[in-house]
């Protein structure tokens, strides 16, 4: 059963309480039940009001059933599904007595839309209260009347903001924009509800939710209420969406289009338009990919390793960070932002100052964007201290080293840490490619050593690669995973191997880009091919951002371990020899010193001038197939078991386009046979062994399998 009905003092109550689940979901079944319940009520003359409540803790209704949406393959089918929901919510709207949604937790997607169909929304001060329409994140638009009702309740601008960003808002904001009519304490909720119903029946609140809305004045009013003003809002929204999505994501654009039309329609036509839009989008590959990634990221966000469920993570109140530079400062900032006391150690005050600068910058930005108040930012920042010695490390629960990528230095650092920290301290390395196992040989208790690989910039990149050695204990792993989650990041767990997953795959790709550059003399074009593909930046700009010295160092490590396929194109060395390190030194492949970044013309002087023409498709194949081949090798070597981990890693670690569904999901969509054939073709045509498809791929092809088993 999804819902029950009861009555008290002539007030009807529909209670959502989904069996065997922590949340309520508006599945087709539940919608049918709701419909039946409403049919019973529609002719009741004796009822004074209807309440819609949830029995779930911290949840009103979490949304529609994504599994059902996932299965939609025909646009008409999707539109029909949406209409079925719309019709039932219309029944709520048509009841002749007042309807009140009592929101004491999250009300998302369909849950939000159900609340919108009610006359009143009464919420509690529960900090878990969130309301919003996150549909665009899954590649479709709201389908249960959200695009029609929300702009009429909160005004056009606020509604578009909510629909297009897909970001839920908290109770205070919802009250401010008129989405909630009242917020009451959780304590004595029943009494508050009674009083609210009394206020309504006594006529203290206007019945029509659309008339109840306060008309805005001045320019905001012009934008909300005047058709010309509306036009400006729609145009501006489209522009912003295009800027943000670069046109890769159709859902937000569709949402603007739908609202731009149904804002002026009656309910019947308006809802029909929305249902059609929903159906069209729900069947797209992009939506399917985004849904896949939603599930995948949910799984990894809450990742727990089989066999470790009974282990309780150790409490972490104090961390040490070794190496205070930009990375160390970024890590310290992140730790401090979660209220963890953080001690940065480095060898000079100047280095520590760099760490403070990096952390301070993130907080300053957050204050500027009003994400934090000045007081809170200062309080968090005060969690960071600097030191030239190991004082304050003895009581650290967790230490992350981010010193230079040099094995000898790392080893000596681990040796020192092992002496200065306590027995319970976990010692983690933020290395991007070096062997954690080798470092762990230096310490008294290697079971306490683990890799904790952040991506730059730390506060923005959502991925952490957790690297386990053969010695790493489950306790160490569990505590590390808990820390990743506390920091709001998504972990993937990989075995210790040079470059782990993300950098290994990424550097194969950058390496290949270097070869293409040397063959064709095209630099911006290659970057463009990849940004057109959906990568946030092309391989050469990425090299500049990372720093050529850093990238090359990792490439050497990989070459040492995996051989010639990681041999860097000579252009990397040549640029480095001229002293250009990339963005941090002003110039690399690009000249970053001028306002509109341009190709660093010195690059041309460093190459032969015998070029072949760039074939864009071949360029894309070479770059993407190289990544797929390398990823398959990682699976072959069992560095990770789940191909999903690679997709999570590439999306959250490198910005691989989510709408393509992740690297290996994309490989599946290309077809394994196609991937193998293309690789073999490249191998032959370019006479380059590096393209030889790995055994794992060949096996998949021979067994007619894909990376991800089909349901």
């Amino acid at each position: 059963m999804g819902l029950t009905y009861n009555e008290k003092n002539n007030v009807g109550v529909i209670v959502f309480d989904h069996d065997d689940s922590k949340v309520n979901i508006l599945s087709s079944d539940v919608i049918k039940q709701l419909s039946a319940a409403l049919d019973q009520l529609k002719d009741r003359e004796d009822l004074t009001a209807l309440l819609i409540v949830s029995m779930k803790k911290d949840v009103f209704i979490a949304g529609a059933d994504i599994k059902e949406i996932e299965k939609i393959v025909e646009p008409d089918d999707g539109a029909k599904k949406a209409k079925a929901g719309q019709d039932v919510l219309n029944k709520i709207e048509e009841l002749h007595f007042p309807t009140i949604a009592v929101i004491d937790g999250v009300a998302l997607g369909g849950g939000c839309e159900l609340a919108l169909a009610c006359d009143y929304r009464l919420a509690t001060f529960n900090p878990k209260v969130r309301i919003g329409l996150p549909e665009v994140n899954l590649g479709f638009i709201p389908g249960f009347g959200g695009t029609y009702r929300l702009p009429r309740i909160v005004g056009l601008q606020e509604a578009l903001k909510m629909i297009l960003a897909g970001r839920p808002i908290d109770g205070a904001k919802a009250l401010k924009i008129g989405l909630f009519d009242k917020i009451v304490t959780q304590k004595g909720l029943d009494q508050h509800i009674e009083e609210f119903v009394k206020d309504i029946t006594e006529g203290k609140l206007k019945k029509s939710k659309y008339e109840r809305r306060k008309k805005k004045k001045g320019f905001p009013g012009f934008l909300d209420h005047n058709p010309i003003g509306n036009r400006i809002v729609f145009d501006q929204s489209r522009k912003n969406v295009l800027k943000l999505t670069k046109g890769f994501y159709p859902a937000p654009l569709k949402a603007v289009d739908v609202v731009a039309s149904n804002f002026y329609m009656d309910r019947k036509r308006g809802l029909a338009l929305e249902a059609r839009g929903f159906g069209e989008l729900a069947v797209t590959d992009i939506s399917k990919n985004l849904v896949y990634i939603f599930y995948l990221s949910e799984k990894y966000r809450k990742l727990s390793i089989k066999g470790t469920e009974s282990i309780k993570p150790a409490n972490i109140t104090k961390c040490g960070v070794l190496g205070a530079g930009v990375m160390g400062g970024g890590i310290a900032q992140l730790l401090s932002s979660k209220g963890i006391w953080t001690r940065m150690k480095d060898i000079s005050l100047d280095a520590i100052a760099k760490g403070f600068q990096a952390a301070g910058k993130v907080y300053t930005q957050a204050v500027k964007k009003r994400k934090l108040t000045k007081a809170v930012a200062a309080e968090r920042m005060a969690h960071i201290t600097g030191s030239l010695d190991y004082s304050g490390f003895a009581n650290a629960d967790y230490v992350i080293e981010a010193v230079v990528e040099n094995m000898d230095i790392k080893k000596s650092v681990f040796k020192e840490l092992s002496e200065k920290c306590s027995e319970h301290t976990i010692l983690a390395s933020n290395t991007s490619a070096l062997s954690v196992t080798e470092m762990s040989l230096e310490v008294k208790d290697p079971s306490k050593v683990i890799g904790f690989h952040f991506f730059n910039p730390v506060h923005r990149m959502p991925l952490v690669e957790i690297i386990t050695t053969a010695q790493t204990s489950n306790e160490t792993l569990v505590t590390s995973l808990a820390l990743v989650k506390r920091l709001g990041k998504t972990p993937i767990v990989v075995k210790d191997s040079p470059g782990f997953i993300v950098n290994r795959i990424l550097l194969g790709y950058i390496c290949e880009a270097g070869h293409i550059l040397e063959e064709t003399g095209e630099l911006e074009e290659v970057d463009l091919v990849m940004t057109d593909f959906g990568m946030p930046m092309g391989p050469f700009l990425l090299s500049d951002e990372v720093g050529l010295d850093v990238g090359l160092k990792v490439m050497h490590i990989l070459e040492e371990s995996f051989g010639k396929r990681f041999k860097a194109a000579s252009i990397f060395e040549k640029i480095l020899e001229t002293g250009k390190l990339g963005k941090k030194s002003g110039k690399g492949f690009y000249d970053h010193t001028i306002k509109d970044r341009q190709v660093n013309t010195e690059v041309w002087d460093l190459m032969d001038s015998q070029f072949t023409r760039l074939d864009k498709q071949e360029c894309l194949d070479r770059l993407v197939l190289t990544m797929i081949n390398e990823a398959a090798k990682c699976l072959e070597e069992k560095i990770v078991e789940d191909p999903g981990a690679i997709d999570v890693g590439m999306i959250f670690g490198t910005g691989f386009p989510p709408f393509k569904g992740g690297l290996l999901k994309y490989a599946d969509s290309l077809g394994i046979a196609h991937v193998v054939d293309q690789l073999e073709k490249l191998q032959k045509e370019l006479e380059a062994e590096r393209f030889a498809p790995c055994q794992y791929l060949l096996n998949l092809k021979n067994q007619n399998k894909t990376f991800f088993a089909k349901d």
Binding site: W341, R343, L349, D350, I352, A353, F356, Q357, G360, T364, A378, E379, M381, A382, H383, T385, G386, S387, L388, S391, G392, A394, N395
Partner: protein
């Protein structure tokens, strides 16, 4: 009676007003020092009873500054904190409060200290201007408004005419109407202390502070000041490398331009800084296996005329010796805060004088203080005098000195604006 020990202490560098710490508030300076002390001391915060911090120019945006500092430094919510104010002895007052509480069996462990940002003491609107602003707010018609505003603008075109400088107010005694420098002039004239003697004393302070740089570094935590975090500050910036008699002699008397002898050069500097100490009972320190820096043996305060406030130490020193049943000759090292060279020299003269001893009935507790054991690493003339901090700094500096030189007994004393003296006997 159980011994009261100082386990550890730390301070920020002292930086002249308007220099490196210009943008750090008193609470931020205090926070930095206290947090660093916590980091450096293997002491579980759950053992702590209270945090007590002295501050003179208590910031309006940090009411009960000690609580603000404690929370920002990571002291658990359950542990209370309060701020103390005994003018220039606020830092000592904090330590003394802890000692008194320990003696009264109120608790066993206290973080104490002082913090001051003289760069951030605000300017105030003059009362007459405040009144006019209030009138302006109440005015209803344009005519009324104009009537107030025209003379208002005429009068207050010069912004300084409408402001009072908080620092100046704080350094002026409201009872006798003299500012601190003028009280030093009173003593200089009473004891016949020449300009040259004062300048000599000031020069020595700078020379000793420069020489003691590496030594003082032991008690300092380098600070990388927000908001830019540009560079670390490791040393006090008051001591002048090439300070000379010629340079000192060139300065004009600041407080009595015609007939005075007290100059900016032979007065303490106006400075920002914080110092913190961890104080507990000896048995507790032993239980927790903590190394002990030294012991607070005895303390005393005494009162004098506000216009002779600088003579305070000459009264507090015999008083504390009497309380401890010790003689001045038992003391192996002395710190008398150098608010003004004239005032320190006046205290030395008074303590040497039989007349003084007789007048105040402190026979047996006065005598000569050997200049070679007085302020051996320089004093406030070179290092600066962040008023609320200095008392805690003197305890810290003295204990580190005793440890370094393997001495047993030290005495620290300060004069206190408003006419008081403070003295504390420390032991190892």
């Amino acid at each position: 009676m159980e011994k009261i020990v100082v386990v550890n202490g730390i301070r920020t560098p002292f930086c002249k007003m308007g220099t490196d710490f210009n943008n750090l508030s008193a609470q931020e300076l205090g926070r930095i020092a206290l947090r660093e002390l916590i980091e450096r001391t293997p002491f579980e915060l759950s053992e702590l009873d209270e945090v007590i911090i002295g501050c003179v120019g208590q910031p309006a945006d940090a009411a009960n500054l000690a609580r603000v500092v404690a929370l920002l430094a990571g002291i658990p919510n359950e542990i209370p904190a309060f701020t103390v104010h005994r003018n220039c002895a606020s830092g000592i007052e904090a330590a003394v409060q802890a000692a008194i509480k320990i003696r009264a069996n109120e608790g066993t462990c206290y973080y104490v200290g002082g913090t001051e940002s003289m760069s951030n003491i605000p300017f105030y609107l003059k009362k007459s201007l405040q009144d006019q602003l209030a009138l302006l707010q109440r005015a209803k018609t344009m005519g009324q408004r104009l009537k107030i505003m025209v003379p208002f603008f005429k009068r207050y075109l010069n912004p300084m005419a409408s402001l009072e400088i908080g620092l100046k107010l704080g350094l002026t005694d409201p009872v006798c109407g003299l500012n601190m420098g003028q009280t030093a002039e009173v003593l200089a004239k009473e004891f016949g202390i020449t300009r040259e003697e004062q300048d000599d004393f000031a020069l020595l302070s700078h020379q000793r502070a420069i020489e003691g740089r590496e030594v003082l570094k032991e008690e300092i935590v380098p600070v990388i000041p927000a908001p830019k975090f540009k560079k670390g500050v490791e040393f006090d910036n008051g001591p002048r490398e090439g300070q000379s008699m010629e340079a000192l002699q060139k300065l004009r008397p600041f407080f009595d331009r015609r007939s005075g002898s007290v100059t900016a050069g032979n007065s303490s500097q106006i400075t920002d800084g914080a110092a913190m100490l961890l104080i507990m009972t000896e048995s507790k320190a032993r239980d927790l296996n903590l190394e002990i820096l030294g012991t607070i043996k005895e303390f005393a305060f005494s009162g004098v005329e506000p216009n002779r406030m600088g003579i305070g130490p000459a009264h507090a020193i015999p008083k504390v010796l009497k309380k401890a049943n010790m003689k001045l000759s038992d003391i192996e090292a002395v710190e008398i805060n150098e608010a003004f060279a004239a005032q320190v020299l006046a205290c030395l003269r008074a303590l040497e004088s039989d007349q003084f001893t007789k007048d105040f009935g402190c026979e047996g507790y006065t005598g000569v203080i050997d200049p070679s054991i007085l302020n051996v690493n320089g004093g406030a003339i070179a290092l600066g005098h962040p008023v609320g901090t200095t008392g805690a700094r003197l305890i810290l500096t003295m204990l580190k000195h005793l440890e370094r030189k393997n001495l047993n007994t030290g005495l620290v004393s300060l004069c206190i604006g408003g006419g008081q003296g403070a003295a504390v006997i420390l032991e190892r």
